[in-house]
């Protein structure tokens, strides 16, 4: 299953990349316009940097930070 087909777990928050985002675990880089799931701590920093914005999408997201169901 490719990263973009993975679905988020319950309670996961989804964000839209405004800048290219490198994920920690050897996943493909997330390009601007793509969505990714982030922890609250990650989101706080990346929102402040203007690297992401809150997305309304709830699935079909790129992976992020070990928050995926198997």
């Amino acid at each position: 299953m490719s990263p973009k087909q993975r679905k988020m777990v319950a309670g996961q928050k989804v964000y839209k990349a405004l800048q290219p985002i490198t994920l920690p675990d050897n996943e493909p880089m997330v390009q601007p316009g793509e969505t990714l799931a982030l922890s609250d701590e990650q989101a706080t920093i990346l929102l402040a940097m203007g690297a992401v914005e809150v997305s309304t999408e709830v699935e079909e997201v790129s992976s992020g930070s070990n928050n995926w169901s198997s």
């Binding site: 800048q19 290219p20 490198t22 996943e27 997330v30 990650q42």
Partner: protein, 149 residues
């Protein structure tokens, strides 16, 4: 404006290589420097009979050469081991580095796919006590800045 407090040195840099642009291997333990050359944008000038200064027009950017410098070792997975096969087979390689240790918000610089252009073989002289050093240079079309999640 107040003087910056955000200046960085290279002491916490991270240098990584990849053969597919997805799975990167940390070679920071056998590498110590990154050099970037090329990438100049072509600028042309044209003078008219009337003017004293040129009209400037812009062109494209040239290719970049990125060099990872490090120490020669014969340890599997370190810089020389990861470079020699790629150089001899002329297969693609990706470089990625950051000035700070990886963490959320850190800037990551990643090359597009490139080819090693210079031999990576060790060189030295018997009158030197220096560690044997190597350099791995790839030619690439672009370098992308991204932000670590």
């Amino acid at each position: 404006m107040a003087q910056t407090t955000g200046a960085l040195s290279w002491i916490d840099a991270v240098m990584e290589v990849s053969t597919d642009g997805i799975s990167y291997y940390d070679v920071s333990g056998s590498s110590n420097a990154v050099k970037v050359d090329g990438g100049e944008r072509a600028i042309s000038e044209f003078f008219t009979a009337n003017g004293d200064t040129p009209i400037l027009t812009r062109g494209k950017r040239s290719k970049l050469e990125v060099t990872f410098a490090g120490v020669y070792t014969e340890v599997t997975g370190e810089l020389f081991d990861r470079m020699i096969g790629v150089y001899e087979a002329a297969t693609t390689m990706y470089f990625r580095w950051s000035v700070k240790t990886h963490g959320t918000g850190v800037f990551i610089f990643s090359t597009s796919a490139g080819y090693l252009t210079k031999p990576v073989y060790p060189q030295g002289a018997s009158d030197s006590a220096d560690a044997v050093q190597i350099e791995a240079t790839i030619s690439v079309a672009s370098i992308a800045k991204s932000i670590h999640a």
